[in-house]
Symmetry: C2
Amino acid sequence: MTGVREPQQERSRTTRRRLIEAALDSFGERGWHGVTVAVIAERAGVSRGAAQHHFPTRETLVAAAVDLLGEAQIDELRAQAAGLPSGSSRIERVVEMVLNLYTGPLFRAALQLWAVAATDEALRDVLVPLEARVGREAHRVTVELLSVDESRAGVRELVQATLDLARGLGLANLLTDDTRRRRQIVREWAQTLELRLAGTSEL
Amino acid sequence: MTGVREPQQERSRTTRRRLIEAALDSFGERGWHGVTVAVIAERAGVSRGAAQHHFPTRETLVAAAVDLLGEAQIDELRAQAAGLPSGSSRIERVVEMVLNLYTGPLFRAALQLWAVAATDEALRDVLVPLEARVGREAHRVTVELLSVDESRAGVRELVQATLDLARGLGLANLLTDDTRRRRQIVREWAQTLELRLAGTSEL
């Protein structure tokens, strides 16, 4: 494509994406209060004017970032799941994937936003509906990966508990590396789900 | 006691306590960056000099606050547990208490600190050993309240998972009121623990 001008629309998409990624890195490393749209623009190598054209405020950047995060997580879950065996070893692998969901830099960035949103109504109004949507999607994919029947009593709550546990494990991994302890919990949780979901799974 | 001077030691303890409580309220409401020792002193009705005598930095205040939080939580767990029936309805009540542990203003304050500590090494060095101690204590009390035998395989991990789940539910309750959903999870988790811990409990 040398010598061919990148189409305007494509350029615009690339710029947005670079700004969102720079925003996530910045919030994760420096927190909400240390970061402005100008700081993010500089990190992304985008002019301040262009940045403000795409995202007039930090809140609009956050909304786009949470969307991207949510989608990226779901995509990754699906990609990992595609390589999984069927049969009884599958549950432990799925549990491991789900319980590792919130242990990376994306969760770190999200946590900074949640902490701020707890004391900032404008940001909370942006985050709450987005989080609800991302949460529903994570739930749907987990049900699908576990191949369980949600119409059975208790199944919905066990899937929810699995995702809540994953977030709790994300917190536990925030300040120290909790990998070893988490591995034991994955094993125990997988056995628990196998026992409780026996007969509800279509594996 | 009118006319009798409050002993120096007692006065000093009261001042510390007032500063710690003002610090927790302030961090919970305004986050770490919005709060200085001077702001906390004013809120506590304590002179800036006295505040700095007790707590030269925000970090020292945080250490004292986390200690107090941890103790207050454990004391509350024990107090609530004292009124519980024995027998099979006990597990659900204990699970309810534990899964509600992180849904109040104390967790809100702690989360502000965690978020900052994720990007601030000095605060992290203060928090990590304190959190480890508070975590161990919460674990010990939960084992005691459930009357389970930790030497049995898997019991330790199930208790840990219960506390991790509790923290995840705390996060889920941060921006919206999650009480109704949590109630369903409590019921399901209590049944799960009963099943998994069958034979390990001395109830």
